[in-house]
Amino acid sequence: MFDTNELVLNMGPQHPSTHGVLRVVLRLDGEKVVDSDVVIGYLHRGIEKLSENRNWTQIILLTDRMDYVAAAINNVGYCETVEKLMSLEVPRRARYVRTILCELQRIASHCLWVGTHAMDIGAMTVFLYAFRERELILDLFEEFCGARLTYNSMRIGGLPLDIPPGWDKKVLEFCKIMDSKIDEYEELLTHNRIWLERTRGIGVISGPHAVALGLSGPPLRGSGVPRDVRKDEPYAAYDEMQFDVPIGLAGDTYDRYLVRMEEFRQSLRIIRQGTEGIPEGPIVGKVPRLIKPPAGETYHAIESPKGELGYFIVSDGKSTNPYRFRVRPPSFCNLQGLRTLIKGHLIADVVALIGSLDVVLGEVDR
Amino acid sequence: MITPTHYMLLSSALFIIGVAGVMMRRNIIVIFMSIELILNAVNINLVAYSSQLQNAVGQVFALFVIAVAAAEAAVGLGIILAFYRNKETVNIDEMNLMKW
């Protein structure tokens, strides 16, 4: 293309491929992106500030609304942070169920990602296939806690309810189905020439650069940095699980894709181990009637499907609500990399790269 | 009865419209289009005589004219683009420099 002047193009907030209300102001030379400006904040609801005026249990359902495609993981992260602040012991059975829920949620979130990412690149069938399987997970969650999207599925110190009878069998059955379905997605994409051409060498970011930008999760591992909170600082029951952390080499969109596809399999592996090894026992630890953590501050991070989800909470020890509540959302930090990634690429790659970072705007804006 | 004269008058009228366009307009793209009109006027003549004389040679020449027009359009538009990139205008009055 040989346009002479730069064209400023507003991509979003109303755009089918910006995964919500992200707005990217592109400065284009023909179709090439010269520079860009990522504008966020269209979905800001002030969750952090709201949390400072709620009691500790009420906050759980606010965390649901951050990464709404992986609500259970947000719940787990928050509850564990408070437990850490209160030095509460969580029973082993509850930790196992948390692990299973987290991994189911990771699969659900990755399903949504693979669907929308493929859709952004034009392969629409994968989208419906992936949603078909996500539906099965939502059914499992519905059976566990009654909700399908915003679960409110955790309590400080353990679980609200024990797992329903026969639920673990259904989970194992789902694992069996999912195994073949992942192959189905890969059949449609992994060796597809067009897919390779659209993703290989697009948005390359080196490991050190990714670390410097603060990326985490699959975008970081896709660049070859083997950082996974589940392995490095185990929480829930991850220290008892056997799993591998897949890493990429090239740091391009294709490697990020491969990393996530492998994470599907590793998640299934963890779910199998967890479900088969669920110990008997109580589901809630010794939680005081009035939750009022001692004065102090703590940071606790877990591995959400998008990356490192951290909670920083300050308690003054006097009131029944946090003094300061702050989230380190993985989507927000990963979105930092977008400007670097899309520079010099074409418009078509912009949507592919937004997809490959897998951002959820509810979490970016909070 | 339509004789070659009719065609020739038509073609000369078209030719004149083209010439007038070249002389009067300042937009170089429109000037190029006027040149295309002139070439078409020539072609109408060629084809009319070819049909009158029952000889396809005129049509062969018309084909050559079309080929030349294509070449002219490609190069000419390339020049326009290159010029526009430097001077941000397509006014022919400002195209009075051999280099810049």
């Binding site: 040989f2 | 289009m33 062969v60 190069v75 006014n91």
Partner: protein, 169 residues
């Protein structure tokens, strides 16, 4: 009679659109009128028993060259028409005068020509029949060298256009 009606209609359209091409302010509209003009010229070729040339006219002119024009018009995307510049050296009147002079001259020739008998040079006997075949036969026999030169010209033009339009080589 039918032929006369067809001719006059087509001629009216051709000239009318040609005038519009030259006079319209908006360059894109100008390009559109040019396309319409070419389509009517193609129809005129059909009237003249040259269907092959008519189709080529549509294919090459309307489908190729004018698309290029449109492409360039959209790329340069003018904010104000060049006519808005007031240039003291404009010679519009002279242009108009010249054009009218040439028209008169051509008209005189045309009228003079009607007083002479119509030429009838029998074409060389052609081994093939059909318009396309005839044109093809001539192109590849008598006019082979011009044909090759035309293709070289197109190649050179293509390379030239690429060199000109490319920002950096």
């Amino acid at each position: 009679m039918g032929q006369a009606i067809a001719f006059y209609t087509l001629a009216a359209f051709i000239l009318g659109f040609a005038v519009l091409v030259v006079t319209t302010k908006d360059t894109v509209h100008s390009v559109l009128f040019l396309v319409l003009d070419f389509l009517f010229v193609a129809a005129l070729y059909v009237l003249l028993d040259a269907p092959f040339l008519a189709v080529i006219q549509v294919l090459v002119y309307a489908g190729g060259i004018v698309v290029l024009y449109l492409f360039v018009v959209m790329l340069v995307n003018l904010k104000r028409p060049p006519e808005a510049h007031h240039d003291p050296h404009r010679r519009t009147k002279l242009g108009l005068f010249l054009a009218v002079a040439v028209l008169l001259e051509l008209g005189a020739i045309a009228v003079y020509q009607t007083t002479r008998p119509v030429l009838s040079v029998p074409g060389a006997p052609m081994p093939v029949t059909g318009n396309t075949e005839q044109v093809g036969w001539l192109l590849y026999t008598s006019y082979l060298i011009p044909f090759e030169i035309a293709s070289m010209l197109l190649l050179v033009a293509m390379i030239g256009a690429i060199v000109l339009a490319k920002r950096e080589l």
